[in-house]
Structures are given as C-alpha cells and as structure tokens.
Amino acid sequence: MASNEEILAGLAEIVNEETGLAPEAVELDKSFTDDLDIDSISMMTIVVNAEEKFGVRIPDEEVKNLKTVGDAVDFIAKAQA
C-alpha cells in the first residue's frame, strides 16, 4: 500500500507520460481540467493507468468526481485501504 506522497508521485508520472506536463506541476490542489488542461479522453487514459499502477478500480461514474489531483489521491488511498 502506497502513502499519499507515493500516490501523488505515481500519478504525476502517469500524467507526465500522457500529457508531457512536468511531474512537479502535478500538485494536490490542481484541477485536472482547469489547471492542467487535461481533456476527458486523456483523463480516461490516466485513470486506467492509475488503476493498473495502484491495483484499484475507479468506476466510470467516479471519474467525474475526481476534479483535482487531491481528489484522485484520496480516492486511490481509500480504495487501497
């Protein structure tokens, strides 16, 4: 099980691979759409890669609630618990 810091680092890596954004730009309070300019299709790619990396299931209907990077970290941490 990963700590929140490890989840954030892992997510940042996934976001970097999908969008080319610098990993350090991926901060907890950043909105995926407004701050990081990630579109809905890229978001799905990130979600699927996160599922694989962290061994969790993120249902389609849950993706809409993951507005910020922090939302995603919290969801993954809870799902892993």
Partner: protein
C-alpha cells in the same frame, strides 16, 4: 438425409466502397455547436466527414459499394448465395434493406437479411459470411456495411453527432484453397445498452401523433408529454468517456484474442483496421497492441468521420487503393459499438 458439404477455407475476394459527395468540415460543425476546428481535430482526429444529400438513400450507397465489390471480386450478382446488410440506419423496421438491395443488383432470389450490430455490424457480417461459405450452405456471400447516420443525428448536440458520416463499404466472400478468414472473436454486453443509444424509441412518435390528433395540434400534444422542443425524431447520444475506456482497453483484449485465435503475431500483420470511431481510440489501441511500425494503420476517419458499420470496409478499400502492395497480407479488423457489441477477425487482403 444429407447435409451440406463443408468447405475448409473462405476468403474475401474484393472490397467495394461508396462515399457520398457532401463534405462537412469542422467549420460547418462549428455553426451548430460551440467548438473549433482545433478542438475537434485534437479530440477526434476528424477533419471532414462525408454525408449523403437528401437525394441519396442508404440503398443507393449500399448498391454503389456492392457493385464495386462484385466487380473487384469478379463475381456476378447471379452467383451470390446470400446478401447481408449491416446497418442501424435503414429507415424501415421491415422489410429489410438487404432484400431491396438484392433486387436492385439482380441477386434475387438470394436469401437476404439485415444485421443490427452498429459499428461491429461489418465484422458480424464477415463472421456470418465465413460461416455460410465454409458450411457449404452457399458459395458466395455479399456483405455490406451501409449507414446514413445523418438521418439520425442532431447537429446541435455534442456527444456524437459531429463525429458521424455516411457511406457504404462491401465485400464478397467466397471459397478459398488457403485460410483467408481467421476465427471470429465476437460478443456483446447489453448491461451497457444505454452507453450509446437513441434518445427515445420510435413508438414515442406514434404516441405523440395520436396525442396531437386528440389535442388538435402538435404543439399542444408536445406540451402535454413534456416534449417542448418537438424533438420527435430520435437521434444518437453517447457517454464518450465510458465508450473510450471500453473501446481502448477492453477492445485491445478482443483484438489480441483474434490474433491468438488465428495463430498470428502482431509482427505478421500487414494492416490494422479498427472501427474508425475516433483517432485517439485508434492511437491508443495501436499502443496497447504494441503493433510494429511497419503495420499500416487505417486512419480513414480523418476524412470520412465515423461511418459505423461502413467504416472498416471503407477504410480497408482505401488502404488497398493507396497501398496495393498490401494485397495478400494479413489485416486485423475489429468493430465495436452500440449494444454494446464487438467483433474481430484476421483476414487475408485480396
């Protein structure tokens, strides 16, 4: 009693295409929805889509593709043992588009029927055609994927309409001395029935017209049933995010199963022809399947848009025109869409 004599192999003998002549650009689309050429290109890879005018019917397009495929295959209509049309936009619940098409091309009295499997419809048709030929039931089968999706869209909605185009593609399948169509990997998942669907059933139109008769006016009846917009005609909608996820990650598994079933490795392929739904889906599938760079990937969607059941034969027809050296090579084709349904097989290109 006797049963039909089995045949060992079948193959696709020729591809045909019909592309309607109205070109709809992204600028045109932006008159109907708030968007931009750049946004549409980036999200979908679509630059134009072809649509049929009011004077071009689904059957006109199906006939054009069918005649082209028969000419390429060197098969006369009288030799056809069956005519199959895959479509979700034939505007009659009955009779079928296939029966009318068989008559138009001179294939009567060949058995004729439609398949309703949306964007997987062509691969479903190939599965049927292959089975009919190898079972010895018939010698030659015409399989057509034809769609006039522009009849079932609402240009002002933004989940799917701007992706869609019209067109028809066709193949003739017949006996072969060598393996030509790999095992079909196909299926459905009706639990996701509403992920891509029509806004409402056709029976609503009947209800509303009956109510209109009783109320004396259409607008009064529409107000009564809460249909203020008078959007009587059902049109397509999708949940794009869910579809994207399913199309890429679930369908990559299906594509791999089709390769395994045929005993083919990715590096044995000459071409990959996925359903032309969205360039981002195509790109991600190529990545998931780890296809070598020499495999030619069909990207007809950039010009043609998503033409549902017609997309795979249209895209393959174009690949063969632009890359004649692909003839004799292996192509992995996979269709997936509303149902949800999917179908995939490896085929030898004629």
């Amino acid at each position: 009693m006797r049963q039909s004599q089995l045949r060992e192999h079948s193959r696709i003998l020729g591809y045909g295409a019909y592309r309607p002549d109205v070109t709809v650009t992204n600028e045109d689309v932006c008159q109907w929805i708030e968007s931009s050429d750049e946004w549409i290109r980036q999200r979908t890879g679509i630059v134009t889509r072809h649509r049929a005018g009011a004077d071009t019917s689904l059957l006109d397009m199906a006939e054009g593709a069918a005649r082209d495929a028969m000419a390429k295959a060197g098969i006369e209509a009288s030799q056809l043992g069956a005519v199959i049309v895959s479509t979700v936009t034939h505007p009659h619940a009955t009779p079928s588009a296939a029966a009318a098409l068989a008559d138009r091309i001179g294939a009567t009295p060949a058995p004729a029927f439609d398949i309703s499997a949306a964007c997987a419809g062509y691969c479903y048709g190939v599965a049927q055609g292959d089975a009919l030929v190898r079972s010895g039931t018939v010698e030659y089968v015409l399989v057509v994927g034809a769609e006039k999706l522009s009849d079932f869209i609402d240009n002002t909605e933004r989940t799917i309409s701007f992706l869609l185009g019209d067109g028809a593609g066709a193949v003739v399948i017949g006996p072969s001395d060598t393996p030509g169509i790999g095992p079909s990997v196909w299926g459905s998942d009706g639990s996701k029935w509403d992920v891509i669907s029509m806004t409402h059933p056709l029976t609503n139109i009947r209800q509303l017209s009956l109510a209109a008769e009783a109320a004396g006016s259409l607008s009064a009846a529409a107000a009564e049933v809460g249909d203020q917009d008078h959007k009587l005609w059902p049109t397509l909608r999708q949940d794009g995010q869910s579809v994207f996820r399913w199309a890429v990650w679930e369908m990559a598994k299906v594509a791999r199963r089709a390769l395994d079933a045929a005993g083919v490795e990715p590096e044995d392929l000459a071409a990959f022809v996925p359903h032309q739904a969205n360039m981002r889906i195509i790109d991600e599938m190529v990545k998931q399947l780890k296809l070598p760079e020499n495999v030619v990937v069909a990207r007809d969607i950039a010009d043609a848009g998503n033409t549902s059941a017609a997309s795979i034969p249209l895209a393959t027809h174009r690949l063969l025109q632009e890359n004649p050296e692909l003839s004799g090579g292996l192509s992995l084709q996979i269709g997936f869409g509303a149902g949800l349904v999917f179908g995939a097989q490896v085929v030898v290109l004629p």
